[in-house]
Amino acid sequence: MKTWRIAGLVAVPFVLAALAIGIFLFAQQGGLAPYRLPVDDGRVVAGDAATLRRGEYLARIGDCAACHTARGGAAYAGGRGFATGRGVIYSSNLTPDREHGIGAWSIAEFAHAMRHGVSRRGPLYPVFPYEYFATLADADIDAIYAYLRSLPASANVPPPNRLDFPANLRPALVLWRMLHYRPAPAAATDDNRGRYLVDGLGHCAMCHSEREPGGALASGGHLAGGRIPGSGWYAPPLDAKQLQRYPVEQLAAYLRSGTSDHGAAYGPMAEVVYRSLQALREDDAIAIARYLKSIPARRAREAAFTLLPEPQRQPEVAGDGAEIYRHACADCHGNDGEGKSGRYPALRDAVAAIAPDPINAVRMVLYGGFAVTTAGNPAPYSMPPFVQQLSSAQIAAVTNYVRENFGAQRSRLTAADIEAMHGIVLD
């Protein structure tokens, strides 16, 4: 009996400390307020033509439809799957269907979900970028709401999420929020339009930031670049140093056309341009370019990148990269990686060459691809796949050659690294 009492006394400070930490973290993620759904105050959002046009534009440049539309499915009716480290999450139906969409939501409830990530379904998974939408102006949220309400209702029911324990339990999201979510300070009017679009509606940091191994955004890694979770692509940093080779006008044109003499958008960025950024107004594109070029560069990251977990490293001579480059690449990209203006991007200082992570370069050499079609680039050029024409050792050698000569990256890929990539999902 006595030992139990002593054990209890010893445990008390630990329990109290755990409780205190819990209360502190709970307060840090905003306390109880996010979980109190607002009551419908009866406010009606005007659905006039100008508001709808504005809402359509904002929804487009916020790229809502890309996530909330399944391939071949009705626009905004949800059902697109997202692979995360903890399973697959399906996007929700945003059409005005009262049962399966958000037709029964008041504007207050919609705004609350946008800003706090909690809806009548409970806390929302952080694949939904509410952290960024918290800074949106009321008028913009109203316009997006009005536009979504004007869409044809779809009774589409997205497939149920397939998540591992404990991520499959919504209450576990409260724990996630306590650890990783810190609400933005109350929305102040941001007179920097570029920052408002990049760090708000555009949620660029979802891909272009460093992430912790667990998937949360790394502190201090905002727009510092990193491997995109669940996609097998590397997103470059967005800052003055990374973008110094782009004049503002050229960067703005790239955002809208998906191509430039320094490189075309590929991988996930191709989709962002195709579905979203090509609709940018020129003034907004310029504002974004100005803001991005004003961001001071972060420290260079130290972490060593590997293509896939644990590639089999073996010392071997990979082949003569320079020779392969002359035969396979130089016709289009030039002997010195200078490219051909208007047709083939330069490789010198290209993202794939200078990135610390070689995955983009390897993917492009293996599988090639088309630049996206946009008004600014209606008939794009393409990069052929080399997976059938070159051996893994040759692909390693030519990729090393490009990254060392045109990107000043120490690149030591081997055939085994390339073979580890063969099973990667083409998306």
Binding site: R71, G72, A270, E271, V273, Y274, C332, R343, Y367, G368, G369, F370, V372, T373, P378, A379, P380, Y381, S382, M383, P384, P385, Q388, Q389, L426, D427
Partner: protein, 235 residues
């Protein structure tokens, strides 16, 4: 009459004359050439990928959209066309359609049929099987199997593995044509060993004369398939 006129107008609008840069246009398709050949003639040693040259533009356009929108399944084709708009896909289709058709048969798959299996295949291709309500291939793809504008492709010299895979995809609903999807229905009526015989037989047929698809509505297929818009107009 009005619908026919509209269709003609639409087709005219959909295929703008772009002779100015047509030579240059092919350069944009380096990614396609890796598997389908520099001029859409196919690649020796890559005996799965179909040749594209000389197939009807309407057919090629539908397939490209199908890969983009999920009516056809090919991870790599979808990768290349997923962010391409209709106008660009139409130009790609037009570019391959205007190239001279491939004249030789497939490079492999020859001499793998017994005389008996070959007779069965040829009979199904030319006459079908009324007992199974199976139309002859030639009744839609043409007596010379060179296809029919704007939606029916030639069947000459396609790799046997490719044709077998298509039969399977139609049957399982992985490849979907515009409804009513005749090939889904037809593939469901062909026995597996007959599929193989037909595929090998077709792979051995060569288009030595470089025949192009028959002009639209030059003959009337027996069924109103979704891929035969002119047949619906004629009804």
């Amino acid at each position: 009459m009005l619908r026919a006129t509209l269709l003609v107008l639409l087709l005219a609008l959909a295929s703008p004359a772009r002779a100015d840069d047509s030579a240059d246009f092919g350069e944009r398709l380096a990614a396609c050439a890796a598997c389908h050949g520099q001029h859409g003639e196919g690649v020796r040693g890559a005996e799965y990928y179909p040749h594209l040259a000389g197939k009807p533009a309407g057919y090629l356009f539908e397939q490209l959209k199908g890969f983009r929108d999920g009516r056809r399944a090919s991870t790599s084709m979808t990768w290349y066309v997923r962010f391409a708009d209709d106008a660009f896909l139409q130009r790609i289709a037009q570019w391959y359609a205007e190239l001279p058709p491939r004249t030789r048969g497939a490079d492999t798959g020859a001499a793998e049929l017994t005389a008996e299996r070959r007779r069965v295949a040829q009979n199904l291709v030319e006459h079908g099987d009324p007992a199974r309500d199976l139309p002859a291939c030639s009744s839609c793809h043409g007596a010379n199997l060179a296809g029919l504008e704007p939606g029916v492709p030639a069947l000459l010299g396609l790799p046997a593995d490719y044709v077998i895979a298509q039969f399977g995809a139609w049957r399982e609903g992985v490849r979907n044509g515009a409804p009513p999807d005749c090939m889904h229905d037809i593939a469901g009526r062909i026995a597996a060993d007959d599929m193989r015989a037909i595929a090998v037989y077709l792979s051995q047929q060569s288009n030595v004369d470089g025949l192009r698809p028959a002009p639209a509505a030059s003959f009337l297929p027996p069924r109103a398939c979704g891929s035969l818009p002119h047949a619906q107009v004629a009804k």
